[in-house]
């Protein structure tokens, strides 16, 4: 390609192919936020794996569950999970904020405003989180 470009003749079309750096996303805050949002995928995947590790530990009985809790208490595991929580949270916020663009709801002749669609998503988030928390720790006295 480069060689062809060097043999420039009068009627040869010039290449107009701006080079984009691999690190283009470091140039602007909004670009960086975009890549950060994209990277949340890895942490969503890790969260699902972590969920399966919990299930597997519970399946193994008290000893294996205890070993799992010990493993999860290691500083590096806490660091990975805390980072994952931040990024999965970032995914959730960006996802709910974009929901109005993806989902247009009509009631009769009027469109439901986007803010209401976002708000209903956040409300669902709260409801689901409360249910999950209640199932896991709000079960009352030791059974």
């Amino acid at each position: 390609m480069a060689q062809i470009a060097e043999h420039y003749t009068e009627y040869h079309p010039r290449w107009l192919r701006p080079h984009i750096s691999t690190y283009w996303w470091l140039r602007k805050r909004s670009y960086f936020a975009f890549i950060l949002r994209e990277i949340t995928s890895l942490f969503v995947a890790w969260s699902a794996v972590f969920l399966l590790l919990i299930v597997d530990a519970v399946r193994g009985g008290p000893a294996e569950y205890g070993a799992f809790l010990d493993w999860a208490r290691q500083p590096w595991v806490i660091a990975v999970n805390a980072g994952s929580l931040l990024l999965v949270g970032f995914h959730a916020v960006t996802w709910f904020n974009l929901a109005p663009q993806a989902l247009v709801v009509r009631l009769g002749h009027t469109h439901v405003p986007g803010s209401l669609i976002s708000a209903s998503n956040y409300a669902a988030w709260v409801v689901v989180s409360v249910i999950v928390g209640w199932i896991l720790i709000g079960y009352g006295p030791q059974r």
């Binding site: 691999t22 969260s47 597997d56 519970v58 399946r59």
Partner: protein
Amino acid sequence: MIKRSAEPLLWMLFSAGGVVAALVLPMLLFLFGVAFPLGWLTPPPVTHLAAVIGHPFTRLTLIIVCTLSFFHAAHRFRYTLYDGLQIKHLNEVIALLCYGSAIVGSAASAYLLVTF
């Protein structure tokens, strides 16, 4: 390899997975990844968790959550590699690796939860 006709389905899985992951995963991560390990809250006893996971509804929910999350992640990561690193020439290899991992993860979650 990946036919064009598969794209709508993949985008649908991406969307559904995005919703499910956003709704369910943060609370689970907060509890098991941060609050229990740091001693902020007492983790539930194994008998309680076994009873919760033993319920068919929980198992079905967890299979759906894991499967959709894996496909969401695979699809988004595939496009991150395209846009971020501009490696379009490895198109098919990347797609195969991403969706292949999602299929393996989904199969593992189905196996774990069906045989729980």
